[in-house]
Symmetry: C2
Subunit: 556 residues, 2 copies
């Protein structure tokens, strides 16, 4: 079971029929214009597919017939090629909305199973064609851009026909599935057998198991269920040098664990066709609730203490002052005014919370004993750090709307706004300076690129935490350049580069869970260092000597 691609937007997020969250929010646009210091927000609709430029395929049916015989469906319609021409980054949307579809894949191939993947890769290798692995296509780092390197053509190899749950091992709490299965179908099938993977990235509805692994993704409950490289037990790949299956032990000391090379490989070493991963019994108890902190620092310290005390939480999500304020204001704007809000504000002021406050959503899942222990241990620690309990409603609202964020981007881009996100991670010792430096770089650059005295806004949160550090996630909006596509891209690049440089010089990784793709390749090479990059190139040369697998990604 898979998604019918014709129900999805080719140049935006998610289901085409999904209603525009902002459609009725007449108070929203003036609020945003004021927040950004711009007189008004122009209408800037996207081009239609018919208005877009898509160069003819350089391949003929004769080139593709062998792939068909090898068990692949072939897609060469403009709709097919357009859908596979970019991922889902702001940078990608600039191209797509601007009607610039080149470079596009010359064709899309849909292998029906792992054997067809292997044959297709061998055929492409012989024919000198580059292959771009494509699952859900939700990369936000240029991970599925159809770069062909020095090859004569490029095919998107779409994995979504590999959509079977193969087996569940209830004793070992492991499951094995084909890599192209979408999140909701995978969870549905696992749930039917009483288990869950629990991997819920924001892209959950439109991304695949293989993509999560290839990009080392993280779900919103990663504290409990783990990041992709943590729940991944073993992978099977199709590579130009033949099928590759990695170890499948709970632990081993028989040489380095090569499964770890698959997580984060982004299709550059081979195509993930199947994965075995850890699952959990479905939780019988859950507790998600909100707390308000007087500062980001106080909330951050609470998270650090919770994690370092080994409290079994599933999720700790702390918004900084501006994010707490902005989403609070947003929800008041898009819903009827309530007296409760005024009372709340007055109460907080009384308790010493000025304008600044930071919301934490803390969750635990498992059996009743574990959840009770976690809830009480969390409450003790957050109180020590000055937090006020804010009940379960904000947490419920967050859980309900947690996949909807990306839907907001399309209407924002329709109204002349730039909107992008980036994320990083660092040790606890480095987090304060990293947060300040990236935020400063984003505010400074969005102000600089904005015209007529307008400026950007920058919201941040911590959503993944570890004993030795945490992630930082930034969302930023600004009035987009009115100078056309090239100017928009230059503006994006200026902002992205400034923030990425700030990450690199302040102890952060260029990405915590988005991956490296094309956009982060330069910074990734710097953070890995020359020896590590030589190691990656040696790996690639061994498995993909002709460099056909996702050329240019990870700088390989």
């Amino acid at each position: 079971m898979t998604l019918d691609r014709s129900t999805l937007r080719w140049n935006g997020w998610g289901f085409a029929r999904h209603e525009d969250n902002f459609a009725d929010a007449t108070r929203l646009w003036p609020f945003l214009a004021e927040a950004l210091g711009t007189p008004d927000l122009p209408h800037t609709p996207a081009k239609t597919l018919a208005e877009s430029t898509l160069a003819p395929s350089t391949l003929a049916f004769g080139d593709l017939a062998p792939f068909q015989q090898a068990g692949c469906e072939i897609g060469m319609t403009p709709e097919d090629r357009a859908f596979h021409t970019r991922g889902d980054s702001y940078r990608d949307l600039l191209d797509l909305r601007g009607g610039k579809l080149d470079p596009a894949p010359d064709a899309v191939i849909y292998p029906k199973d792992a054997a067809a993947c292997q044959r297709a890769i061998e055929l492409a290798d012989k024919a000198g064609l580059a292959l771009v692995p494509f699952g859900g296509g939700t990369s936000v780092v240029g991970g599925v851009s159809p770069l062909k390197g020095s090859h004569r053509g490029v095919l998107a190899i779409d994995t979504t026909k590999l959509d079977k749950l193969i087996s569940v091992d209830r004793a070992s709490l492991r499951a094995t599935a084909e890599a192209g299965i979408y999140g909701p179908f995978l969870e549905q099938k696992l749930n039917a057998q009483g288990v869950t993977l629990g991997h819920y990235p924001q892209s959950f509805e439109f991304s695949t198991l293989g993509g999560w692994i290839a990009a080392r993704g993280a779900g919103q409950q990663s504290n409990r269920y783990g990041k992709a490289e943590e729940w991944l037990v073993s992978a099977r790949l199709a590579t130009p040098k033949g099928p590759w299956a990695t170890e499948a032990f709970p632990a081993s000391s028989a040489g380095p664990r090569l499964t770890d090379l698959v997580a984060g490989s982004e299709g550059t070493l081979g195509l993930i066709t199947e994965a075995t991963f850890q699952v959990h019994e479905r939780p019988t108890a859950r507790d998600y609730r909100a707390y308000l902190f007087p500062s980001f620092e106080a909330g951050r310290e609470a998270i650090r203490h919770i994690i370092q005390a080994d409290i079994p939480v599933s999720s700790l999500r702390l918004s900084d002052e501006d994010e707490t304020h902005f989403f609070g204001a947003l929800s008041r704007l898009t819903s009827p005014p309530k007296t409760a809000h005024k009372l709340q504000d007055a109460y907080l002021k009384l308790r010493g919370f000025g304008g600044a406050r930071c919301a934490l959503i803390a969750g635990a899942e498992g059996d009743e004993g574990l959840v009770a222990y976690a809830r009480s241990a969390i409450a003790t620690i957050v109180r020590k750090h000055g937090a006020l309990a804010a009940g379960t409603s904000p947490a419920k609202n967050w859980l309900k709307g947690r996949f909807h964020g990306p839907y907001l981007r399309d209407p924002l881009m329709d109204r002349g706004l730039g909107v992008d996100t980036l994320e990083t991670a660092a040790s606890w010792a480095d987090i304060p300076k990293l947060y300040s430096a990236v935020r400063a770089a984003l505010l400074e650059t969005t102000r600089r690129v904005s015209e007529n005295g307008a400026h950007g806004i920058c919201l941040a949160h911590i959503s993944h935490s570890y004993r030795d550090g945490a992630s930082l996630y930034f969302t930023y909006l600004w009035p987009r350049s009115t100078g056309g596509l090239d100017a928009e891209i230059a503006e994006w690049h200026a902002i992205k580069s400034a923030a990425s440089d700030a990450i690199a010089t302040n102890g952060g990784t260029i990405s915590h869970h988005h991956g490296a793709g094309t956009d982060h390749a330069k910074w990734m090479a710097d953070e890995k260092g020359a020896t590590s990059m030589a190691v990656l190139r040696a790996l690639k040369a061994e498995l993909d000597p002709n460099g056909i697998m996702n050329p240019g990604k990870l700088g390989l």
Copy 2:
């Protein structure tokens, strides 16, 4: 601070002055002889160093002067070379005790710091000399055997002068240390700053940080503190291609995590000179207690449920029937008889425990709330699986004596016995058949090699557990061949091969925490598969093109 090697046994375990645990146990030898079905146990003392064969070094001082100038001390005495000629496996002890010291390293070099390591490696690379990294030298898989491949000589490169704790980051709970620091000194220095690594392998007193990482070791509290690859944050290596430093982020998605290639590399890719690792605040509460189960299966299922319910334990150690019985009998033999024992036996019989019973030691460490939660959650689960509480004394005794096991081997080998251990890990689904198959192979082979109707005994335990599986550790004794060194080695090889084949065909890894070294290389290649081995060879060719780093280990 490091150990004075002259205080250590060169052909046995630990401190030379350590007293023989069995010296006064006059009842022990008849008990063992009876258990093994052999009329008596001959005296089979080890040869002295003077009685041993050690070929002259093929290197002259002129060959070594450059290493001295590069910051290395040089060791060429017979004592120095003998200490570095083997690790601490039963197979190694056969050689050492039999006086067969060849192949031996031509010399030992002791670099004073990371820079000296790098220069030494470059010198060796130019001079065509193989290097065998040597920390504590406690490998039990032939990991430090001085194989020279096609090189003209071989040096042991001893890391124990790299013994500094470099820094502790209290906020991030990370520490950085030089790789040659011994366990006790590392813990002492960490403890002085309020933290602990908590890595306590049985070899703790005589092994080093770098060795733990190189061999992917596991400590006895690995449930809490993690296996080496779990607590390792980042490593620095000296390699023939230059210094290599890996990433140091709490998490990242910028390409594959190459730190994972260092764990388990066993010196084949380079020499670990420094490591950053996660530490914990020293626990303020601890609870270790014992339970008795009516069967190994019941205890195993209890462990599985405890781990899969995410109870924060530090250690779960379950002995099978024979191990529980044997160590019970052993402790009664070496201490005065007690009426309490008889009462205990009667009580167990009454509660439906026949002769068979299995001891579990369950431990939790952390703050008081966590330990209280863990203790109560453990108690609930073990009761469901038919366990009886056996109090805290057995756990205290285990904690007290947990590094003493290897000391027993020397007196056993002095009395004509063969004694070896091996370990593996598999998914929970595979554990039952793996346990039966390996045990059967060990019992069958030790019986077959024993003379005059004697036979071996086989004891097993689970000491490391994961959501998706567990380790199995086997200890086996048998009356050793009386046919001389070659016969002893052939006998060892027959037993080891039979057990390793049983592991390979029943879903186990050839090693959970001992490493692969020389002894496991063949089975490791099978379990990794041809593609993974090609990947490892490509990595080695990149970092060590002339193959000077620990030749032959991991089959590389």
